[in-house]
Symmetry: C2
Subunit: 137 residues, 2 copies
């Protein structure tokens, strides 16, 4: 577990491209290391950081939100409660989206089932009505 990664090694180890690393550096998510030789050397912690960012994005956080979380992580005066509040906000968003998608799913299923006769015209298909009228199909 060395601590001297070129940008390419960092990229490879954290599962992103070199360009993405540069992008994160530019956005201030990763600190730009000062080059001792010709190339800049990144640390193992930078791998951790990028994986953190990727996971945060997967969990529905934006890059800026990921940056905020990283700053909380780095700033150890921050309290657990602050992180919790952010997570709870995201949970609300996620739950709302799931609810709506389930409505959509039911609508689509109902349409597929009602669409037994392939020769029927679209106007007789119920899905788009469900969509339009905002009703619980």
């Amino acid at each position: 577990m060395k601590d001297e990664y070129t940008i390419g090694q960092l990229a490879k180890n954290s599962g992103v491209t070199v360009e993405t690393v540069r992008f994160y550096v530019q956005k201030g998510l990763i600190k730009q290391p000062t080059p001792k030789s010709g190339y800049r050397k990144y640390s193992f912690d930078d791998i951790i950081k990028i994986k953190f960012i990727k996971r945060a994005q997967y969990l529905g956080f934006t890059l800026n939100e990921a940056k905020e979380l990283l700053e909380l992580r780095v700033n150890n005066r921050a309290r657990c409660g602050q992180v919790k509040v952010k997570a709870e906000q995201k949970l609300d968003e996620v739950e709302k989206r799931i609810k709506d998608l389930n409505i959509m799913k039911r609508s689509l299923k109902k349409m597929i089932n009602s669409c037994s006769n392939d020769e029927k015209f679209v106007t007789e298909c119920p899905i788009l009505e469900c969509f339009e009228k905002d009703k619980r199909c």
Copy 2:
């Protein structure tokens, strides 16, 4: 329920801005009406369409996907079978999206629960560890 809306009235009635309507027209989601007088007049169906688009977007579909769905709706020469195929594709997408969101939901919930003491410092907060270690907390 008149059928002669100026762009401003259309925008107001469908809950978007005038610029957004123009954007949808430009993108081909709304048909550009030919002006009888000086101003173009939109129909009640355009209100329905914009609400349809907004609902589709809210449910996680892109503008292009919304356009596809609208095209199915509008083209009544399309047969039920064609719509069915698209609906089945969308259903797969919706189910995948729900699955991913449920994973997110579970992760976020476990994170929140593990963060019982708000006064703990971030370094002691398990939320960020969950993030970092890529484990199913």
